[in-house]
């Protein structure tokens, strides 16, 4: 199986307090932010790796994983990390975040999919910076491929399909999706028994979470192919459908108060918060 994984580099949400908006309010000031891969995209990469191996012998790859990101030169470290973790080849589409929106990314990805011809596109359900949750869905529509979003489980099936579990109210909905397809993944996809290729025994359980790059693989990743593509090559029309009018920080939280005892707490909840 050949899988294309779309990875986005985002500002580390653990350092959200470092996000600054200049007085003009026309952008987010990104200087001094720490970057990391979008966690849901890391989970997507982990799912793709599990689908292209026998879980008992992860060093022998059985399939191909191509990672792609949209970003400036420095996002290549994100791609190198993905290569070290097990991806086979990487593509960087040269662009900066302000030149992109979900629609344009999906259109550019469509061209890439037509070039690379993967059996499956896997990506995070959303990026934790913009939280737009659009690219996977738009891409499936543009390709006219089936889609399964918010996947909690993926099982490869012999007949050229994947069985995707989605957590819904009151249970799990299972969708059988014929390949080629687009799947976006949720947090639980990295649980121990969430993803199985046809080669991995159902009794096998993965370590929870995403895998770390083995040291020899970090060395080997230097020699794996990483190519750069211009955005204009992939999308003739690079005009944005979504433009940002203004950025504004959320209002600062007011300081809390300490109460002396339960009676005072109840009194405040009744008279001031009016929730009782």
């Amino acid at each position: 199986m050949k899988i294309l994984v779309a990875l986005k580099r985002v500002a580390d949400p653990d350092n959200a307090n470092k996000v600054k908006i200049p007085g003009s309010g026309d952008r987010v000031d990104t200087t001094g932010l720490e970057w990391k891969p979008n966690p849901f995209d890391e989970y997507a990469l982990e799912a793709a790796l599990r689908l292209t191996e026998n879980g008992q012998q992860p060093k022998t790859r059985a399939g191909e994983v191509v990672v792609v990101t949209f970003g400036p030169k420095e996002t290549e470290t994100t791609l190198r990390a993905a290569l070290a973790t097990g991806a086979d080849k990487a593509i960087r589409v040269d662009a900066t975040d302000d030149q992109l929106d979900g629609d344009l990314v999906a259109r550019a990805l469509k061209t890439l999919v037509e070039r690379e011809k993967p059996d499956l596109v896997v990506m995070g359900k959303q990026a934790v910076d913009g939280d737009s949750n659009q690219v996977g869905q738009i891409l499936a529509e543009l390709l006219d491929w089936p889609q399964a979003t918010f996947a909690a489980t993926i099982e490869e099936e012999a007949a050229g399909s994947v069985l995707v579990g989605r957590e819904v109210d009151g249970g799990v909905a299972k969708l059988r999706v014929k390949l080629p397809a687009v799947v976006t993944v949720d947090l639980r996809i990295v649980a121990g028994a969430s993803v199985y290729s046809t080669k991995t025994a159902r009794t096998f359980k993965y370590n929870e979470g995403v895998r770390f790059a083995a040291l020899p693989a970090i060395m080997a990743a230097k020699k794996k192919p990483l190519t750069e593509v211009k955005l204009a090559e992939l999308a003739a029309d690079t005009k944005l459908k979504v433009t940002y009018a203004k950025f504004q920080a959320p209002p600062a939280r007011k300081a809390g108060i300490k109460v002396k005892d339960v009676a005072e707490l109840v009194d405040k909840l009744q008279k001031e918060a009016k929730v009782l």
Partner: protein, 472 residues
């Protein structure tokens, strides 16, 4: 005989002392709330029952002086208290002492970026100081797992060590000035923001590592250094301790600045897994693990490749970004907490000449296995400094009292070994209450006599942290 050896002060004396403190320092300084007493009367050691008479939380250095003066005059003992993350019982108040909590005095002054100094109050939390300095590309390189709770004053009073000692040395190296209140209430301002100040005995050094027995630190002027460049954080699994020592040699000869070299055993990791649900991300796991941090440089990867060619490690990984680095560190930094959460550890913190570590550990395992069959030993530590944290875990089928009764014997056997290998019975945790019976294994009678003389000169009534380090 000093006044303090007559035992805890009576209730009436305590009551009048507390009233006098409130009169001098204002309302709200004193608490006798039972929840505060049990919480603030102890540190991370679990073996002593807290029983302070009251908690005093001064707002200013004048308050500290006033409280000490009143207590010293009335014969009420005082336990200075910081973040209470100590592991030797130095901040335990078990005999009706007054706990002097420095939490309210946490101001961090303006950072002098040219002189690379900052003056902070004793109650400033270590991590808060780090964060403030980091904004200016600087750091106070005193760093350990409990930095989110520990206070700068406590770090200094215990001359804290930690994970950066291999690069930066102990806390002592990073203190330029110290402001201290003596038991009499008198204040000393020593050093301040000068790198060079060769004017007689460097008095502040007396208070660094004195565990609150000589004076109460109210503020300090810290020496800062540049924030290190990005680090590569690596985790290795190794077959045995001898491989760990060989890896350390290779790291010393490596073409990078070593930032940390931390060791732990598979038994520690199993406890972390039970408590925090985190485990080794490696596919081949031996009995020993090392977290290695190196300043990032172009030569790092060639060094790594060489390690594998030489077969020095079984497996390894390198963090690909900061949150991966944090999760590798969590395996090491989660140990202390996980041991306490999953059982009752009897903790020891010893230092040995690094060349003798392997032989010592083999001897220790053998001694314990012979005398205490079935007792689990969890070893971890800053092995690059020759510093081992030895944790003997209470067997599940043994009562707590029976276990504690025997740990004293365990210590005797271990410290005899430590002494025979030329080591120290306390590398960085201090002596406190826990180690005072064993001070003689690492210090000569003449040294202890000199320490007693200093104690008597600075605290003649034995008001400050009595019974810690030695009985005055």
């Amino acid at each position: 005989m000093t006044r303090r050896e007559q035992g805890p002060a009576g209730a009436a004396v305590v009551q009048s002392v507390l009233e006098e403190i409130e009169r001098r320092c204002g309302a709200g300084v004193v608490s006798t709330d039972p929840a505060d007493l049990s919480e603030l009367g102890r540190d991370w050691t679990k073996v002593f029952a807290p029983a302070p008479c009251a908690i005093a939380s001064p707002r200013t250095a004048d308050d500290v002086s006033a409280i000490l003066k009143v207590c010293d005059a009335a014969g009420v003992a005082v336990v200075p208290s910081g973040g209470r993350t100590g592991l030797a019982g130095g901040a335990v108040a078990k005999d009706g002492e007054l706990v002097l909590s420095m939490s309210r005095m946490s101001a961090i002054g303006e950072i002098d970026v040219v002189g690379r100094t900052v003056r902070v109050e004793a109650g400033a939390v270590t991590q808060a100081v780090h964060e403030r300095c980091a904004e200016l590309g600087l750091t106070w390189p005193v760093d350990f797992a409990s930095k989110g709770s520990s206070h700068v004053g406590g770090n200094i009073a215990t001359n804290a060590g930690g994970i950066r000692v291999i690069r930066y040395g102990l806390t002592r190296n990073w203190v330029l000035g110290l402001e201290v209140a003596l038991a009499s209430g008198e204040r000393l301002a020593m050093g301040q923001a000068l790198e060079k100040n060769n004017t007689g005995v460097d008095l502040k050094q007396l208070f660094i590592g004195s565990e609150g027995t000589l004076g109460v630190i109210t503020a300090a002027t810290l020496k800062l250094t540049r924030l290190p460049a990005d680090h590569d954080v690596m985790l290795f699994s190794l077959a045995d301790l001898s491989a760990v020592i060989r890896l350390f040699r290779a790291a010393q000869e490596a073409p990078f600045q070593l930032g940390a070299f931390e060791f732990f055993t598979d038994r520690c990791l199993a406890r972390v897994e039970r408590h925090r649900k985190r485990t080794s991300p490696l596919s081949t796991n031996g009995t020993c693990f090392v977290v290695l941090e190196a300043e990032r440089g172009p030569a790092n990867e060639a060094w790594l490749a060489d390690l594998f060619e030489k077969g020095l490690v079984l497996d390894g990984t390198m963090a690909q970004h900061a949150s991966q680095a944090a999760s590798l560190w969590e395996l090491r930094e989660g140990i202390s907490e996980s041991l306490s959460a999953t059982g009752l550890p009897h903790k020891n913190d010893i230092a040995l000449p690094i060349a003798k570590l392997e032989a010592f550990c083999a001897d220790l395992e053998r001694t314990l296995a012979e005398r205490y069959p079935g007792w689990e030993v969890c070893l971890f530590g800053h092995i690059g400094d020759g510093n081992l944290h030895v944790n003997v875990m209470k067997p599940d089928d043994l009562e707590k009292e029976a276990f504690l009764a025997r740990t004293h014997d365990v210590d005797r056997h271990m410290f005899e070994l430590v002494k025979s290998y030329g080591g120290s019975i306390s590398a960085e945790h201090g002596i406190g209450l826990l180690k005072k019976d064993w001070l003689g294994f690492s210090r000569s009678p003449a040294e202890i006599a000199a320490m007693r003389a200093i104690k008597r000169a600075l605290d003649p009534n034995n008001t400050l942290n009595p019974g810690k380090i030695f009985d005055a």
